[in-house]
């Protein structure tokens, strides 16, 4: 798993490459939360164009960040989720709380 977070034009983008599962979720969570704590932005985007696998552990991570950013009124967007990852996000109802963008 590779995670890169950038912040420009008031928009934070977290790009995840590889596989998101129990083995790496803690590190991902800590990195994102560390970033959120010290940065200002009005939108947060998860760029999943390089994410080849995700299971329900990833859903838990997304819901956790949603709860946090909701308190700051920051909406979350999901960008470029591929086939299987996209299907899991739909099944878990993630797109009802995070907008899908391409």
């Amino acid at each position: 798993m590779r995670l890169q977070i950038t912040n420009s034009s008031d928009c934070a983008v977290a790009k995840l490459d590889g596989e998101l599962d129990e083995g790496c979720v803690r590190e991902v969570r800590e990195k994102i939360d560390g970033f959120i704590a010290v940065n200002d932005f009005s939108r947060f985007v998860f760029d999943f164009s390089g994410l080849s696998f995700m299971d329900s552990t990833g859903i838990g991570m997304l819901l956790g960040r949603y709860k946090q950013l909701k308190q700051r009124n920051v909406p979350i967007y999901i960008s470029n989720a591929r086939g299987h990852v996209d299907f899991i996000l739909s099944t878990a109802g993630i797109y009802t709380i995070m907008k899908k963008i391409s």
Binding site: E19, D21, E22, G23, F53, D55, G83, H84, T91
Partner: protein, 140 residues
């Protein structure tokens, strides 16, 4: 017919090894990429359940996995000797989790049921859980 057995420690990270191994073993039935991803997800969920729930992070316990291929069908059994599930009917409900504090989504069994054709969960309190999953791969 072909069969494969795997015994591995309940260590975080082994869910990745298990899903790669088992999906690779199923390749002889010529599954589609989508079917392979279905198997990977179901295995990842079931093994993560063993690590996180059955053994609550104890890394010196074992998970037993067996895969049986027959015709176009794969039967995957994932078994632990952990704490067991109090109420299986409740556990399989979407969004039900016993560990909301750990940001668990409660979607594990829902995804397993979505991706596999048939799923049976046999659990005994303090003795363990056995998840039996079946999937038939489409013929080309």
């Amino acid at each position: 017919m072909n069969e494969f057995k795997l015994k591995l420690l309940s260590k975080i990270g082994n869910e990745s090894f298990a899903r790669s191994c088992i999906s690779a073993f199923c390749l002889e039935l010529n599954p589609t990429l989508e079917e392979i991803n279905d198997i990977k997800t179901a295995v990842s969920e079931a093994v993560t359940n063993c690590i996180v729930h059955a053994y609550s992070g104890e890394e010196d316990k074992y998970i037993d996995i067996s895969v049986r291929l027959e015709g176009q069908k794969a039967e995957i059994i994932i078994e632990d000797k952990g704490c067991g599930i109090d109420d299986v009917d409740k556990a399989i409900q979407p969004f039900f989790t016993t560990k909301p504090d750990q940001e668990r989504s409660g979607m594990g069994f829902t995804l397993i049921k979505t991706f596999m054709d048939k799923v049976d969960i046999i659990s005994q309190k303090d003795e363990g859980t056995r998840v039996i999953m079946q999937k038939e791969f489409k013929k080309e």
